[in-house]
């Protein structure tokens, strides 16, 4: 995102600065209103990170963040030695990386397929339908999964049983073996069409004469995709990949890991569905262990920030495209 900001102030004599500020005072009043919201809802919680190093009790209110006693790294230590630590960290990483591997290429493939369609009404029809799930809440998506996959009333299980492919219904929703597939599959279903918008726009930016020249040279459809379409999308692919990896612990492009793990998770698939965020939520808001949950949250944020910067750095090195 590029924003030109006019830096002024330093070169301007003080008296003039004050005069200009007075002239702009109404505008500063507007901005100030927004900054109040930022300070309250974004910056104050950032100070709350201190809670992770303190013995915070909710009865202390907001000033307890500063007044409660320091405990150093006690809560980090406790998390690392938690008997669920290994499982939670593994689940978080596996779910995130599986999503990058499967959900990141999906919209690229869809965009390339759509680009090969000559019939405009058909193209528009498929696009319109593929965006739709993006606007539906995760709760509905989970409801749909239930209607299709549950062991007793799920449409898929019923159909497979009727057709004689299986003798026993598959416990897709209540078995640790299926959770990762279920989460990645539903994420692809929900967000694939949405991210196709950006890749299609990138393809639209490719000079059509390249395709004409390739056709004259006898390049087939696959050759054109490989040598023109994909290289033409390269910049966009890199930027989207950087975005994906930076937000991978939250679920990357394909929606919230938390919402999925929270809604699709249950006591039986818990061995694969419990992730850092759901665990922090449980010990934090449900059990009221605020400092412990903050420490867990903080570890995750730090890893995210490292991922953002390192993926951006690598993208800059490899391709020259980057986010910032």
């Amino acid at each position: 995102m590029q924003l030109e900001t006019n830096v002024t102030g330093t070169e301007i004599p003080r008296g003039q600065l004050w005069k200009r500020f007075k002239k702009q005072r109404v505008l500063h009043l507007f901005v100030g209103l927004g900054m109040i919201f930022l300070v309250i809802f974004s910056y104050t919680p950032m100070f709350g990170i201190l809670m992770a190093f303190k013995d915070y009790s909710i009865s202390d209110g907001i000033k307890g963040i500063f007044t409660s006693d320091w405990v150093g790294l006690r809560y980090f230590d406790e998390f690392v030695h938690d008997y669920q630590f290994g499982k939670i960290v593994r689940n978080t990483l596996v779910l995130s990386f599986l999503k990058v591997i499967f959900a990141f290429p999906a919209p690229i493939v869809l965009a390339i397929l759509l680009n090969e369609v000559k019939s405009m009404p058909f193209k528009r029809f498929v696009q319109t339908i593929s965006y739709l799930p993006h606007f539906i809440s995760w709760v509905v998506v989970v409801g749909v999964s239930y209607a299709f996959l549950s062991a007793d009333i799920g449409l898929v299980n019923r159909a497979l049983l009727e057709a004689g492919f299986i003798d026993q219904p598959l416990n897709i929703l209540t078995s640790p073996n299926y959770f990762w597939g279920l989460a990645v599959g539903s994420a692809v279903w929900k967000e694939m069409g949405w991210w196709t918008i950006i890749f299609l726009a990138a393809i639209t930016g490719i000079n059509p004469s390249l395709y004409e020249a390739a056709e004259i040279d006898g390049a087939g459809r696959l050759a054109r995709i490989r040598h023109i379409t994909l290289p033409g999308m390269k910049g966009t692919i890199v930027v989207v990949l950087v975005l994906t990896i930076g937000s991978i612990l939250g679920g990357g492009l394909v929606g919230s890991n938390f919402e999925q793990a929270y809604l699709l998770g249950n006591s039986i698939n818990n061995p694969t569905s419990e992730i850092v965020q759901t665990y922090a939520f449980k010990v934090g808001l449900s059990d009221g262990r605020f400092s412990y949950a903050s420490a867990i949250d903080l570890i995750q944020s730090v890893i995210s920030v490292i991922l953002i910067f390192s993926s951006n750095f690598i993208a800059k090195r490899v391709s020259g495209s980057s986010l910032f």
Partner: protein
């Protein structure tokens, strides 16, 4: 080759569309009959019983009204504050604008996490109030940046002539900027509206009062109930009728999806431009 492409895309489109269709026909089918299975294309024993139960249940109706109220007021206030701040920040000669932008961008990348956020809401007295749905989302940093770049493309002459006529910033914002920014306002309104409509996390985290539950939260509740490991389908079986927890679930899903489908045609006109403006420049 061509036929492969068309076939693949048709399969993808069908996979996206059919789940919605199935939910729709299940909501118009007798609940106890749906459980027998084998219904794929049409409702087998058509009934409006599911919708009657839904509409008569004060719990669902209340949740529906809360959701409508938060969607309308949340969107209106979000539009107002976000566009007002964006208008001020769109002035290229605004003093300290670098400081303001740094504050905004930093807040987009870093957050304190859920627990400190909860503590802040608690000390503001927002927990367990309707305000918790509205107030924290009034300034949308993502749309703030989009709105700034949109406002910057409005010809400066429009504002200057108003200035000459002695109009203040507030008048210019309301009388000149907003009226020529309909595409932007429509995009923001639709996205904020859909966000408010779909939201359930804040209802689950920050609200205990049964009177403040949202439609999506209620839906999650009933899905979780019937999705529990010890699954018993007849949990919500009402005496006499064929309504099951599953048929109520699909009915609530239709009610929740319907408004989105209704605004979808308008949504689509704008969002392609919106997402391109806001996110990636390849």
């Amino acid at each position: 080759m061509d036929s492969t492409v068309y076939l693949l895309l048709s399969i993808i489109a069908l996979t996206m569309l059919y789940p919605f269709y199935y939910v729709l026909i299940a909501s118009f089918n007798k609940g106890s009959d749906t459980l027998l299975g084998g219904m794929y294309l049409w409702p087998r024993s058509v009934t409006f019983e599911n919708y009657r139960i839904f509409l008569e249940d004060p719990k669902w109706m209340k949740a529906f009204l809360v959701t409508v109220a938060r969607t309308v007021s949340g969107t209106a206030l979000g539009l107002l504050l976000t566009s007002l701040v964006a208008y001020a920040l769109s002035h290229r000669d605004l003093l300290f604008s670098k400081f303001y932008f740094t504050m905004i961008i930093f807040a987009m990348y870093f957050s304190g996490g859920l627990i400190p956020y909860y503590v802040v809401l608690r000390s503001l007295g927002l927990l367990n109030t309707f305000g918790v749905y509205i107030v924290p989302s009034m300034l949308n940093t993502f749309f703030l940046l989009i709105a700034i770049s949109f406002f910057r493309e409005i010809p400066g002459e429009l504002k200057e002539s108003a200035h000459m006529d002695g109009a203040g910033e507030f008048v210019i914002y309301f009388r000149i900027i907003l009226p020529v920014s309909m595409p932007l306002l429509a995009t923001m309104a639709l996205f904020m509206g859909v966000g408010q409509w779909n939201s359930w996390l804040d209802s689950a985290y920050f609200v205990q009062s049964e009177n403040l539950r949202t439609l999506t939260f209620r839906m999650m509740e009933i899905i979780n109930q019937s999705n529990a490991p010890m699954d018993s389908v007849a949990v919500a079986n009402r005496p006499g009728g064929g309504v099951t927890s599953f048929s109520l679930q699909v009915t609530s899903m239709v009610v929740s999806i319907l408004p989105i489908i209704c605004v979808y045609p308008f949504l689509q006109k704008y969002f392609v431009h919106g997402i391109m403006l806001g996110s990636v420049k390849g």
